[in-house]
């Protein structure tokens, strides 16, 4: 856009800004002839100027609406009250707004289920550390044995920010709670070397850049588990997860595994349990297969231990990650994962103390 055009816009800008304070109806500035004239002019311009000019005029309009909104806000300001008082002046005691009835209150089902799961792991001696919602490339990938540019990264459709970290790398919205593994291993390394195995569960929100439907959300909750000690076996991993599931479902279950691939575990497994809802007789929850896939897990790759400064010849460990929504959807037969973050009371109040309360 040439000098002349931008000056023209700036002139209109100062004229209109000055006029704004004099106007009764502030919003009328957005309908001013000057602004209209600027828009009118677009069609007379040569093509190469149109886009930049149009954008500049739109920006001006945006700024003006902002000013209008602000002045309206102050013009429409409410009467002042004593904000330090606990209730309103001249209010009668039984008409003061207090709390709503307890039976309409509800805890979010993800949070109550997460708490239940955490309780089991706390009882098994696991500490709890929450996951991050922004992390760097090193923790999300590098420290987990995903080399730079490795095709295994393609399995994680990550969101990234336009902003970059000190190494010039884009920040990442973590696609798994494993993003915390390296920090946790480093943090608890002294305990490990003093003879206390590392046992931590990591709940948190994770993000995947994928199309959303009834079964897929771009934002969901995971829980990671990490255990490192001496003489840790694959059987330890399977047994730990099995007793957790048995405690959670208060039922005996059978376990099935499938080999899998994660760069940060070797071997890597997918872990299925016998359906606790039908005891393998076949039901809708398990799609009449008798089995339900629950989580991914494996023995921590020695490189992951090494990256955290842990002697991989002396210590082994296992890790797993599972989705929290899955537990709740299975339990309640929830059909659409998008309901969890919908903020709809129709959904939330079904989990209320009083079975929904009154509207």
């Amino acid at each position: 856009m040439n000098q002349e055009l931008s000056e023209q816009i700036n002139n209109v800008k100062s004229v209109l800004e000055a006029r704004l304070s004099t106007l009764e109806d502030k919003r009328s500035i957005l309908r001013s002839v000057e602004l209209k004239a600027l828009y009118e002019q677009i069609k007379t311009l040569p093509d190469e100027n149109k886009a930049a000019y149009g954008q500049a005029v739109n920006e001006l309009r945006q700024q003006l609406s902002q000013l209008v909104a602000e002045s309206e806000s102050s013009a429409q300001a409410l009467s002042a009250i004593d904000v330090s008082a606990p209730f309103a002046i001249n209010s009668t005691k039984d008409r003061r707004p207090g709390l709503l009835p307890a039976n309409s209150g509800s805890e979010h089902p993800i949070m109550s289920e997460q708490a239940k799961i955490l309780d089991i792991f706390k009882g098994m001696g696991f500490s709890v550390v929450e996951s991050r919602e922004i992390d760097d490339d090193w923790h999300m990938f590098g420290a987990l044995n995903f080399p730079e540019g490795h095709p295994a990264r393609d399995h994680y459709d990550t969101f990234m920010t336009t902003q970059t970290d000190v190494n010039g790398k884009q920040w990442i919205a973590p696609a798994h709670t494993s993003t915390m593994q390296n920090r946790i291993l480093e943090h608890y390394k002294p305990d490990l070397e003093n003879g206390s195995p590392i046992a931590v569960v990591i709940p948190g929100r994770v993000f995947r850049n994928e199309d959303v439907d009834a079964r897929h959300e771009h934002t969901f909750y995971q829980m990671e588990g990490v255990y490192v000690g001496e003489n840790v076996s694959i059987g330890n991993l399977i047994a730990t997860l099995k007793v957790f599931l048995e405690s959670y479902y208060e039922a005996e279950i059978k376990v099935k595994t499938q080999p899998f691939y994660f760069p940060f575990t070797e071997p890597s497994l997918e872990f299925s349990m016998s359906c606790p809802f039908c005891n393998q007789a076949g039901c809708r929850v398990c799609s009449y297969s008798g089995w339900i896939e629950m989580l991914g897990c494996g023995m921590i790759h020695p490189n992951v231990l090494k990256f955290a400064g842990i002697d991989a010849s002396k210590y082994q460990g296992f890790a797993w990650g599972c989705g929290i929504e899955r537990f709740i959807m299975l339990k309640h037969g929830i059909e659409d994962i998008r309901l969890f973050e919908s903020g709809r009371l129709d959904f939330l109040r079904q989990f209320s103390l009083g079975g929904g309360g009154e509207q």
């Binding site: 707004p97 708490a115 922004i134």
Partner: protein, 836 residues
């Protein structure tokens, strides 16, 4: 990765795979990788019969239909036959003729190509007045090829006769097992049928021996050297560690034989011609992609020079699929001296494509760096079968075997074919045979949870062609040349554990000390808050960490301070939120609309700001609690006195009280104070300064509470009766630890309760008055006397708007004596005078 069971069996003719198919599929699932689907081809082909066309006449009045009599050897039962023997079928194919051996789908059979769609079941019906029983099928209808122009005509010299089973002829009594690709990210060998069958043998404890042709050192004998084939491999040290090629003459391009077409078709590959099909067939056997160039299109006199290099800036290339790509600097191209011929390892170029007239080719068998292939594939959005395989890191050591096998097949299909160049082999010195991996027997025992006989473990590995030796301490293995994934002892252990079956290992819980895990302060606090607010009738919701610019602008948040996604799913999810209250506000209107007239919503979550980084420059993630109350106008008016602000306050006071935090530590400052704190500065635009306050604890800001400013209220369709707060949970946690209310011992003496009304100027705030009051109480009260004051009423009359009457309920208690009403009344009088 689609696997054909019959293809596997054919590659392993000396190993007897078990016949029990469901067990086989279970074992693949538990010891190889997740089975996505299994499709049984038998129902598609079991009714198809090979028949002879004994008579073929045009149907008068039709320009293409033929009335045919076929001989099915009498195998099909229950059909009307002419002359007691032959069956009448109408056929529209132009190539049908008397004497042909063709494939007949009798009435009751399903057309195989309709499987998985709407199944088309054949019957007997009249066409142009002629009865037609079933159909004579084309390759496309049989789902064994792409040819739709005519029916399949079977060769005369294949020993076939009328009445033979078509299914048996092409081994279509097959299971197609689709195994999840992700499993094989580190197993390039499993992208070929050969790798899968070897692994299956291993799973069943059977010794597998690769076919003779699969030999890394095999000789490829050149017939003559008419063509001078050379290479300038500029990327031998990084992008292209091996490039083999050979020129072949004497070819004629035709459709492939049916067996070849049908194997490709059943794993989802479209047959094209007898040259391209061979490259695809060999790739599906070995996992190694190949490429064929039309020799005439790449040669210069009698020489062909290949250059392997990175693309030049601005270079363009038309690919086999007809698309034209602008090449990027780090794309690997295979080129002639003058121009790029193909995008190496991803897709060949259109200029040198095999055509119907091709008579000679250059066959390439090269290895490209997986990282480079991934980078270019992502950049151009091309995800070919070759990309799938090269990005797993194919072993460069199998190229000679693969090239030799491809030449064998080409010769089989083209008896006149001969090699007319030297075998070109540009091989990087960095390519070494797999190194020996030494794995401690102790480590194996640790992972497995028990010791296993060394011989047993050795046998498992030799079954899949590892070289194994051992001593008292170590199991030593040399992986076969096609395995690129066995680098560490743990990789060997994975192999052993998987072949045993993970769930067959002994399952024991880890032993641990009984020390309790540390208490997670913040998590416990959040849980306590949640329980409190829920008991106060509030609903917890969870909303996305990502919000849109519109919501941020509507609620006065500065997008310039927000982390922005470069690849957001939609504009609604573009920014990391810098406050929680706006997310809650965006959920208010929809819930009122759904019929909830009075709501209290809360959320606990993290916020992010560009200017909030820790000492390592990592974004801080302050944890916040936000709560919003809102009621529709009619309800608010009929039920409540006063503004919504005080309902938000009720929740705040209730929550802090429930957490045991001393209310005396909390104070309220004007909203402008948020401007001093960058984490909170945007709040000044969200709230109405006349009805909002900064919540302080001593000199620490812990949050903001208030009603919302006009602009956000308009933009978010909020009710007049709406208010909320947002608090920093680390501050609440600190308060909970430092300002916990403590127990006061009960007195043996009764308390005296009296009300006191104080009149002040209208400018006086509760906070000021309360401070004064407590100061005076402290000064006036005798040592043994505890006086608690609770505000119960605030009154201002219309007649005297300049003054306010505050009524406190005072409760006086002594731990030493019985108080008299008079004593308390005197004290209150003194207090009152001091305050008014």
């Amino acid at each position: 990765m689609k696997v054909s069971l019959n293809w596997l069996k054919q590659l392993a003719d000396d190993v007897q795979l078990p016949v029990h198919e469901s067990d086989l599929i279970d074992r693949i699932g538990s010891q190889l990788g997740q089975v996505d689907s299994v499709s049984d081809l038998r129902p598609l082909y079991e009714k198809a019969v090979i028949v002879k066309v004994v008579q073929c006449d045009n149907i008068s009045g039709s320009d293409h239909l033929h009335s045919c009599l076929i001989d099915d050897g009498g195998v099909f039962k229950g059909i009307e036959r002419e002359d007691g023997r032959h069956v009448r079928v109408v056929c529209g194919a132009p190539n049908v003729a008397q004497g042909q051996l063709v494939v007949w789908l009798p009435p009751g059979a399903m057309v195989p190509s309709s499987a998985g769609k709407e199944p088309f079941i054949l019957e007997s019906r009249k066409l142009m007045g002629v009865i037609s029983n079933g159909m004579i099928a084309s390759a496309k209808e049989l789902a064994i090829g792409d040819d739709h122009d005519g029916i399949v005509v079977l060769p005369d010299d294949a020993g076939l006769k009328a009445g033979d089973s078509f299914m048996n002829y092409l081994a279509l009594d097959d299971l197609i097992i689709d195994i999840e690709n992700k499993m094989f990210t580190h197993r390039p060998d499993l992208f070929g049928q050969l790798g899968v069958v070897r692994e299956l043998a291993g799973i069943y404890g059977l010794k597998f021996t690769s076919p003779k042709w699969y030999d890394e050192n095999r000789q490829i004998v050149s017939g003559s050297s008419n063509i001078d084939l050379t290479i300038d491999n500029q990327l031998i040290d990084d992008g292209c560690p091996r490039f083999m090629a050979v020129a072949i003459d004497g070819l004629s391009v035709e459709p492939s034989p049916l067996w070849l077409q049908s194997y490709l078709a059943r794993v989802g590959i479209r047959p094209i011609n007898n040259l391209v099909d061979v490259t695809n067939y060999v790739m599906h056997v070995t996992g190694q992609p190949l490429h064929a160039y039309d020799l005439d299109k790449v040669k210069n006199d009698h020489s062909v020079e290949f250059v392997v290099r990175y693309a030049d800036a601005g270079e363009e290339l038309e690919l086999l699929d007809g698309s034209r790509v602008k090449l990027l600097e780090k794309d690997i191209v295979v080129a002639s001296r003058t121009k790029a011929l193909g995008l190496g390892g991803i897709m060949g170029g259109a200029d040198s494509e095999i055509s119907q007239t091709t008579q000679s080719i250059v066959l390439e068998c090269a290895t490209f760096d997986m990282y480079a292939i991934r980078r270019s594939s992502m950049a151009h959005g091309i995800f070919s079968e070759a990309v799938t395989r090269f990005t797993k890191g194919q072993s460069a050591l199998q190229n000679r075997a693969v090239l030799g096998y491809a030449i064998d097949l080409i010769k089989r299909l083209n008896p006149g074919a001969s090699i007319i160049s030297e075998v070109l082999d540009s091989l990087s010195e960095q390519i070494k045979p797999p190194a020996e991996v030494k794995t401690g027997l102790n480590l194996i025992e640790t992972y497995l949870g028990s010791s296993r006989p060394v011989d047993e473990m050795a046998k498992m590995l030799t079954n899949v062609e590892f070289e194994v030796s051992s001593n008292e301490q170590y199991l030593k293995v040399i992986p076969p040349f096609w395995r690129t994934d066995i680098l560490e002892p743990e990789d060997v252990i994975e192999e052993i554990a998987r072949l045993i079956g993970f769930t067959n290992l002994s399952q024991q819980l880890p032993l641990r000390r009984i020390a309790p895990p540390e208490q997670p302060g913040l998590i416990n606090l959040k849980q306590a808050i949640r329980r409190l607010l829920v008991s106060g009738g509030a609903n917890e919701l969870i909303s996305y960490s990502f919000v849109d610019a519109k919501l941020m602008q509507a609620s006065g948040q500065d997008t310039a301070q927000a982390f922005k996604l470069s690849n957001a799913l939609s504009p609604q999810l573009e920014y990391y939120r810098t406050a929680l209250v706006p997310s809650l506000l965006s959920r208010v209107h929809l819930n009122h609309k759904a019929g909830y007239e009075h709501i209290a919503l809360f959320e606990i979550g993290k916020i992010h700001r560009l200017d909030c980084l820790d000492e390592d420059q990592l974004p801080l993630e302050p944890e916040r609690l936000a709560l919003v109350v809102s009621a529709v106008a009619k309800l608010a008016k009929s039920v409540y006195d006063g503004p919504a602000y005080y309902q938000a306050r009720s929740y705040l006071d209730f929550m802090l009280g429930g957490l045991g935090i001393d209310p005396a530590v909390i104070s309220y400052l004007p909203l402008e104070n948020t401007l001093k704190n960058k984490q909170w500065q945007d709040s000044s635009k969200l709230y109405d300064s006349n009805r909002a306050a900064v919540v302080m604890a001593g000199d620490q800001m812990i949050g903001v509470i208030g009603e919302f400013a006009y602009a956000p209220k308009q933009a978010l369709k909020l009710n007049e009766f709406s208010a909320g707060f947002e608090l920093d949970l680390s501050q609440i946690l600190r308060l909970r630890q430092t300002h916990q209310l403590t127990y006061a011992p009960l007195s043996k003496f009764p308390s005296v309760v009296q009300d006191m009304t104080v009149e002040t100027s209208a400018a006086m705030t509760y906070q000021e008055l309360s401070l004064k009051l407590h100061k005076q109480i402290e000064q006036l009260m005798p040592q043994d006397l505890d006086l608690k004051a609770k505000l119960i009423d605030i009154y201002r009359s219309d007649e005297a708007p300049d003054s306010i009457h505050w009524t406190f309920r005072l409760t006086a208690t002594s731990i030493e004596r019985t108080l008299t009403d008079q004593l308390v009344a005197d004290l209150i009088d003194k207090l009152k005078n001091l305050l008014s």
